[in-house]
Subunit: 278 residues, 2 copies
């Protein structure tokens, strides 16, 4: 029995798509989430900066006595996981491996599409993992830099969103992908629009949902699951940005209309930075 919380970090609110699935699969686990909305987007930033920001958020969560860290952000997973994981003595999980395994399992015609931020697409992280496991699979990746701002500004059901999604995914018309990885945790909020453009036969992979299953497996493997079923966890949500905007999206997306996100100043995040060495 281990009631310590699980820490989730993201560049913004997108990681809540992973949290939502974790809350469903692991109802007795307490979750602490931090979104770095003050510095979003991470996608276009240089790798060294993404590593630095990710370490700062990690340090904030470690102070909350987390028992496991979930990097609920594709850019941070692609750029920073391999640096951070060996430095911590708790399990660290990213979203790219679970998403890649699910895509390989799903494809029938061996053509997988990836959409992600510039950082994720430039890192080629999905293609490298997928082709290391099955070199016969063709991977076709597209950066979708306009998707994150649309979600973060809570316009993901707008006419603008529909137009941007259609334009961005246009190049897939030339590629026979039967499986598309939504390689950024913000994208599942655009799922209906994406499915509409890709057509009903294309299987959409949500790496966040796959990651929640991996969290469950590792909690058991390391024997750190909380099995006290009387425990009703009170989750904590932090943002370096606007709590109002966070509450609107999270309230809607997580169906938690009374969510009370707390603001954390960037300065506090930076001063906290001890224990994770560069």
């Amino acid at each position: 029995m281990n009631k310590q919380p699980i820490g989730f970090l993201d560049s913004g609110v997108g990681g809540l798509t992973v949290v939502k699935e974790a809350m469903r699969q692991l109802p007795h686990e307490k979750i602490i989430f931090i979104g770095d909305q003050a510095r979003i987007p991470y996608g276009p930033r240089p790798q060294q900066q993404v590593i630095e920001f990710t370490k700062e958020l990690t340090q904030f969560l470690l102070k909350k006595q987390i028992k496991m860290l979930v990097i609920a952000c594709n850019t941070a997973t692609a750029e920073a996981l391999s640096t951070i994981k060996p430095q911590l003595d708790i399990p660290v999980v990213g979203v790219i491996l679970p998403g890649s395994r699910a895509a390989i399992k799903a494809t029938r015609n061996q053509h997988i599409g990836i959409i992600g931020t510039e950082g994720t697409v430039k890192s080629d992280a999905y293609a490298r993992v997928i082709q290391s496991k099955s070199k016969h699979i063709q991977v076709f990746s597209i950066a979708a830099p306009k998707f994150v701002p649309i979600v973060e500004s809570n316009e993901y059901r707008s006419v603008l969103a529909k137009k941007v999604v259609a334009e961005t995914l246009e190049p897939f018309k030339q590629h026979p992908v039967d499986t598309l990885v939504m390689g950024c945790t913000h994208y599942p909020l655009l799922r209906p629009l994406i499915q509409n453009v890709m057509g009903p036969r294309v299987k959409l992979i949500d790496p966040g949902a796959e990651t929640a299953s991996e969290v469950s497996t590792l909690l058991d493997y390391f024997d750190i699951a909380n099995d006290d079923q009387e425990y009703q966890p009170v989750h904590e949500f932090y943002t370096t940005g606007s709590t109002k905007m966070f509450a609107e999206i999270a309230g809607d997306w997580l169906n938690m209309p009374d969510i009370k996100p707390q603001h954390v100043a960037l300065q506090a995040i930076k001063l906290n930075q001890v224990g994770v060495e560069s």
Copy 2:
């Protein structure tokens, strides 16, 4: 890139149901399997003896430089996993946690049935794991001691098998289970007979197949998967019993008609016992 083999152990041939699934999901991983047919069944034995036998098989596999150990036997998982896992510095996986998670995910009416050996049922391992995760689930367990000898003697398609399965599962008529865990790695060979008695609406859970997915997750987590896709592994199969009987069942079950199992004398197994302390 790590070409070391994965070790699988079982009391007999049942663990081959896990191997079959691992071969499908992980075609570039070399597998070394040992079945302790000379001392089967493990089910009715005292716990201390199951621990001792499992350690001996583990030691045999460790000498083969395995990078991960899969206890592909429900009785050995229930009785010996918690003793052996902390003693090794490679990942150790059993079949009960993956099977339990899959059963919880599958049930709709919160009534789960378990069939297993006397040892597994007496240990109450499945019920304890399932109820620690979801106390509202009713678990109804039945020991099926006659199933293992039927499979090991290659009679699993016989009229006798049909009769034994029907008689053993009779008590489930009084219990509204919608999910049945085949809690012994031998039982999937009896799957058509079991499904026939339980009816088409009961979901059968094969913990071995679930375990193969967990092996895949952990190979990635610990970064020890073999990603050399040119590598065509030559698997190795050992038995402490009759290689003839082993080859018949394995050839049929794994669709490997030219399988060449090797005999290992129990005496050799025992003399090898170093490194795993009691």
